[in-house]
Subunit: 108 residues, 2 copies
Amino acid sequence: MEYKAINFDEKLDLINEYWSPRVVAELNDYQFKLVRLKGEFVWHKHNDTDEAFIVLEGNLRIDFRDGSIDIGPGEMHVVPKGLEHRPFAEQEVKALLVEPQGVVNTGD
Amino acid sequence: MEYKAINFDEKLDLINEYWSPRVVAELNDYQFKLVRLKGEFVWHKHNDTDEAFIVLEGNLRIDFRDGSIDIGPGEMHVVPKGLEHRPFAEQEVKALLVEPQGVVNTGD
């Protein structure tokens, strides 16, 4: 049988809008999503799940009500469930998200 | 509050043996594990879970009974539950694994 790995750059090249995650793989009932980010997103939270951000390219800042985190290429952070956060990318960021099926990116 | 991202290279530098995944983050009841791979692992399978391999550095081959897959930097593959597989790295590979808590890397 022919097996082919999922190539992040190839998949990212097919995405032509920001803040619009695309599912590229599934692991049990979890999903891997690639996303291109630029500018400021809305404040939101996910009451039922943690959310993982893995940065592939660029520098992502995530604001919290009591501080912020910078995530660069080769870095990741898990935002715990229920915590309000706002992603911000001054320049374009390419990232891989991991979260359960059915999560909406604007939260609850 | 001070927030700091998980830096893969920093964590990988602390690992001094091959085939010995270290948990670096948790997402609900799932774990992210960094691992350094070199040489050939044993044939095994996980009857209860899929397993994600995200390659950060080097080239990983995973053999299946009916073929094989090559996974390079910036690529990933999810091995489905129950499928026998054998990872092989001719040169050192640095990878990020995602799987539920409690999975043993030699399988069932």
